[in-house]
């Protein structure tokens, strides 16, 4: 049934009933507890959760239903025609039943609220007040357990407090697909527990939030604060492009915790553990003052001094400047960089993609993604079939994964994945693998099995492509072609929260805000009018690869000129880097060389990095907690966030850029978020013609690896060595272990087995990890991109699809 048909059915299929004498009309299949909410009657509950299947485990919601012999659980009984329900408000029977249940629940409850982290926001405390007795009649010794125990490094369980509502186990099983906790034992000894494995689910933090008592608490937040201490701010998670609504709770200029905030259209009630627990980076190891280089050393400087130096050098460099931003910026800040580059510097040399990329990807983004409104989470949930290409939803965009899982569970969505092996996430989606050697994605896309192609022709089918596909020649072109052939909609799901916003804001060469091609005169005119300038650069500038190449060429040219004692005119005089990590790109050494060789480097960052260490001037900027702004999620949906620390002294990137513009004696640039938003709104999306889609052919089939070499497959895990996860030890302890995946035959060829170390090498270095023998094509090795002992860009200096050497580490020692 399509969503529309469901809507129509809802109008005609209403049932009519009475709750406490009030008439209600609700769609068929509505639970009494939900219907009661609609007429303002709150029935106490513990196990009930609108997004979990009903179980009627706690019995707190008992109500009287006319014609039924005993009180019934309101959370598990559907409203039927003419049903007459009496709740605790009008029925003594219901009230007595609820009081009885509460008395039983409290019989073994430790009532240690003063030392319990849930105290002050506890449904059991609240409902004991509304549906409980004032005194306890139970005087015998209570059942006790040693407390607390770790169900994972970051989730603590106090079994004495548990009311066995099974919200946590149902969440883990139904929503996350990680049934690692379960109800054990019987009777008074009944308890939640884990088996052999800890509860290392990427979504485990949600159980802490939905546990209606203090049985599940967070190791990180343990005893830190009480709800009344905390100031809550509605925020958007900055860790990925899922766009979760979150709530940031802080006190004394320190973020104490983050919760998932309800947004039915996006993250429903959930978020992932990265979004929940990775926030220490906001306060630790920060840059606080501008730095300038003097006699080869960076020293602290005042804002006016640093701004003057930068303005003087940028005025000289002018259009011979380049801007690189790190993909984590808010929409407003990214827009400010794009505007600054074009108006104040007069250059189009700008790129936000500090990761393995390609020109093909840039063309794809310009033609199909920038400034468009694509498919949404609702479309995703309704899709009958989804094809994932170079995309691991659980690792890269966890809420997309949860939606897919919901659709798989609720209506049997079929999921196909073009990847080297079936990841854990794909298995939890009951997905089917179209095993593909990295680099051959285009070939697979162009020769899909007939049944898959047929499924993709169904109404609402979707193709989701990840950032990894940019590394596979012809992959994106083939995905576009497939989408055009089958009618399946196509969505690009980047990893970082700032990527989509940066694209829409025009922080990439060749594209002005709203997806306007810089080569289009009408588009340039629209933008020039809003920016109040005469003219914009007319030809696309350099992207990141071009900038690196230009600096290398300049360096060679300058060296040659020096020999002949000529002046050399460089093409890049000044480089502005915002939130860039050198190790993010495929070849960190090349980027580092460019930074070292560029005549003048300005870095804007929240913390000291290799980039700030090499810069000539460094400006500290605000974190997401110190500014307001907007992230744009993969759907293209705006996700605004409020400032957490209103009294901060830090400047946002946009403010720093406007200060530089002032020092350049240019027209004032918009400095704050409302002004920037107004300009972005005024520009809107581009309605004119778009560039053509890329038509890059599939590369010729590359020979698969032999026993000594293999094709490298790699992607980032959700929890890894990312800088924004620093300072969160409990979170780090739940990371998936770093392993190297090879097929059984490849392992046998090397003479190694499960768990033995294998060495993956390239020209620049090597990685040694234990082997996980995995069902996958021979001649491929998969390692995580940025995990402990496995930093692919730094060690190997190559990306997915490259050929690497495989060996037994012992071979080396024997040889040596």
């Amino acid at each position: 049934m399509t969503a529309q048909a469901e809507g129509e059915a809802a109008d005609t299929d209403l049932v009519h009933a009475f709750i406490d004498g009030q008439p209600v009309s609700v769609p068929k299949g509505t639970l009494i507890i939900r219907a009661a909410e609609q007429v303002g009657v709150e029935i106490p509950r513990f196990c009930d959760h609108p997004l979990l299947d009903p179980v009627a485990a706690c019995r707190q919601c008992l109500v009287e239903v006319e014609g039924m012999p005993k009180p019934q659980p309101a959370c598990a009984l559907y409203v039927s025609e003419d049903m007459k329900v009496k709740t605790q408000d009008t029925s003594t029977e219901a009230e007595v039943a609820q009081k009885g249940v509460m008395e039983f629940l409290l019989a073994n409850h430790p009532l240690d609220c003063p030392v319990c982290d849930k105290g002050g926001e506890c449904p059991l405390q609240n409902q004991a007040m509304t549906a409980g007795r004032t005194t306890s009649r139970y005087t015998l010794p209570k059942r006790t357990f040693p407390k607390p125990i770790n169900v994972s490094a970051q989730v603590l369980l106090d079994r004495e407090r548990c009311v066995n509502c099974q919200r946590c186990t149902r969440f883990a099983d139904e929503i996350a697909g990680d049934p690692l906790i379960d109800l054990m034992e019987r009777g008074a000894e009944q308890q939640i527990g884990i088996g052999e494995e800890p509860f290392d689910s990427y979504f485990s933090g949600n159980t802490i939030q939905i546990c209606p008592v203090g049985a599940l608490t967070s190791a990180d937040y343990r005893f830190k604060a009480r709800p009344f201490d905390l100031v809550s701010v509605p925020t958007t998670c900055e860790h990925c492009a899922s766009g979760c609504a979150t709530r940031t709770d802080w006190r004394h200029e320190s973020v104490e915790r983050r919760y998932a905030w309800e947004d039915p259209a996006v993250n429903e009630d959930w978020n992932c553990d990265k979004g929940r627990f990775a926030f220490k980076y906001l306060s630790e190891n920060r840059l606080t003052t501008p730095l300038v280089r003097e006699d080869g050393q960076l020293r602290k400087a005042s804002w006016p001094e640093a701004l003057r130096i930068v303005a003087a050098r940028l005025a000289q460099a002018g259009s011979r400047s380049a801007v690189v931003t790190g993909g984590r910026l808010s929409l407003e800040d990214a827009y400010a960089y794009g505007r600054f580059a074009r108006t104040d510097l007069g250059t189009d040399n700008i790129d936000f993609r500090t990761r393995p990329t390609s020109q093909e990807e840039q063309d794809f983004l310009a033609s199909r993604v920038a400034g468009t409104a694509g498919p949404t989470y609702a479309d995703l949930e309704a899709a009958p079939t989804v094809l994932l290409v170079g995309f691991e939803p659980e690792e890269e965009s966890p809420i997309v994964y949860l939606r897919l899982r919901k659709a798989v569970r609720k209506h049997g969505m079929r999921v196909f994945s073009i990847a080297p092996f079936a990841s854990e996430g794909l298995e939890k989606l009951s997905g089917e693998l179209l095993a593909t050697v990295p680099g051959s994605e285009a070939a697979t896309l162009r020769s899909l099995p007939d049944d898959v192609a047929k499924e993709l022709r169904a109404d609402g089918a979707m193709i989701l492509v990840g950032e990894r596909l940019a590394q596979s020649q012809g992959g994106l072109s083939a995905a576009v072609a497939l989408s055009e052939q089958t009618g399946a909609s196509l969505a690009w799901i980047p990893r970082r929260a700032g990527e989509r916003g940066s694209l829409d804001a025009g922080a990439i060469s060749g594209l002005l805000p709203g997806g306007r091609p810089i080569t289009d005169a009408a588009a340039r005119q629209e933008v020039a009018k809003v920016w109040g300038i005469e003219a914009l650069p007319e030809t696309p500038g350099l992207n990141l690869a071009g900038i690196i190449a230009a600096i290398a060429a300049d360096e060679a040219g300058a060296a040659a000129a020096e020999d002949s004692e000529e002046e050399y005119e460089r093409s890049i005089e000044a480089l502005i880097l915002a939130g860039v990590d050198v190790s993010d790109v495929a070849e960190p050494a090349a980027l580092q060389r460019a930074i070292d060789d560029a005549p003048f480097v300005v870095a804007l960052d929240i913390r000291p990095t290799e980039v700030t260490a090499a810069a000539d001037v460094v400006f500290p900027v605000a974190t997401v907690a110190e500014k307001s702004g907007t992230f744009v999620d993969w759907e293209g949906r705006r996700r605004p966030f409020a400032i957490t620390f209103p009294e901060t002294q830090m400047f946002s990137d946009a403010t720093v850029l406007s200060l530089i513009a002032d020092n350049l004696d240019h027209d004032p640039a918009p400095r704050n978020v409302p002004a920037l938003r107004a300009e972005i709104e005024a520009l809107g999306a581009w309605a004119g013609e778009r560039p053509d889609v890329p038509q890059v052919p599939a590369p010729p089939a590359s020979p698969a690896g032999d026993n000594q070499t293999a094709v490298l497959a790699t992607w980032r895990l959700l929890l890894d060595l990312g800088v924004t996860q620093e300072g969160a030890p409990y979170l780090a302890a739940t990371r998936r272990p770093s392993v190297a995946r090879i097929s059984a035959a490849t392992a046998a060829g090397l003479g190694i087995g499960e768990g033995d170390p294998v060495r993956v090498g390239s020209q620049t270095g090597s990685i040694t990890l234990p082997v996980a023998v995995t069902e996958m094509p021979d001649g491929i090795v998969w390692v995580p991109t940025n995990s402990p002992d496995s930093r692919v860009t730094e060690s190997l200096g190559v990306g997915a699809g490259a050929t690497v050497s495989l060996s037994r580490p012992t071979d080396l020692t024997e040889g040596a």
């Binding site: 003063p114 030392v115 105290g119 343990r222 005893f223 009480r226 009344f228 201490d229």
Partner: protein, 198 residues
């Protein structure tokens, strides 16, 4: 006297008072002579269990109850080797701002462990705002003969409950030794530090 002109009757009251007993108390010279009433609300005190462990569990109920927002508490977990109270939780930071406190004793009523009570100390005056924010070390009850200063372990073989039921009556030899060891080690460290810095 009733017939005296109104102006003079006022003088008469003044004159008569000169022969009455003086109620002015000489403070601070004779402070000891006039102790506060038994239920007087003076400076707070954070009490200890008989072996010296702190009674405060860092629950913040006092801070919650305080109508003047005078109390700031931050809890923390007791861990192996760093135990300040019986049970899981203790008050790591405890401050009362005596510029805000109105001595209403709502906090005392709220405290679930009887950690917080009030003394008779009333002379809370000083020259700066900062010093009137009392820290935990200023509020903690002094150690008696039977107590040793935390952090130290609970009396061996007891539970948190035993402390509340009054089964712990004083520090055991084990606890004394633990604390003595710790203090020795700390002194040694200080010597090393001092040598290193000199």
């Amino acid at each position: 006297m009733a017939d005296l002109p109104p102006a003079l009757s006022g003088f008469w009251v003044t004159f008569r008072t000169m022969f009455q007993k003086v109620v002015t108390e000489q403070y601070p010279e004779q402070a000891a002579k006039y102790p506060p009433k038994p239920r007087f609300h003076g400076r707070h005190q954070l009490n200890r269990h008989p072996d010296g462990l702190e009674k405060c569990v860092g629950c913040e109920l006092c801070a919650w109850a305080c109508p003047a927002d005078a109390i700031y508490v931050q809890g923390a977990a007791n861990v192996e080797g760093d135990r300040h109270s019986p049970g899981e939780r203790y008050g790591r930071v405890y401050q009362i701002n005596y510029l805000r406190c109105i001595f209403c004793a709502m906090c005392i009523e709220a405290c679930p462990t009887r950690a917080l009570t009030m003394t008779h100390e009333f002379d809370l005056a000083d020259h700066s705002r900062e010093v009137l924010i009392y820290e935990k070390d200023q509020l903690l009850a002094p150690l008696t003969e039977n107590m040793v200063a935390p952090p130290h372990a609970m009396v061996a073989g007891t539970t948190e409950k035993d402390y509340y039921e009054g089964k712990v009556t004083g520090a055991t030899t084990e606890q004394r030794e633990e604390v003595a060891h710790r203090e020795e080690a700390e002194e040694a460290d200080e010597v090393v530090d001092a040598e290193a810095s000199s």
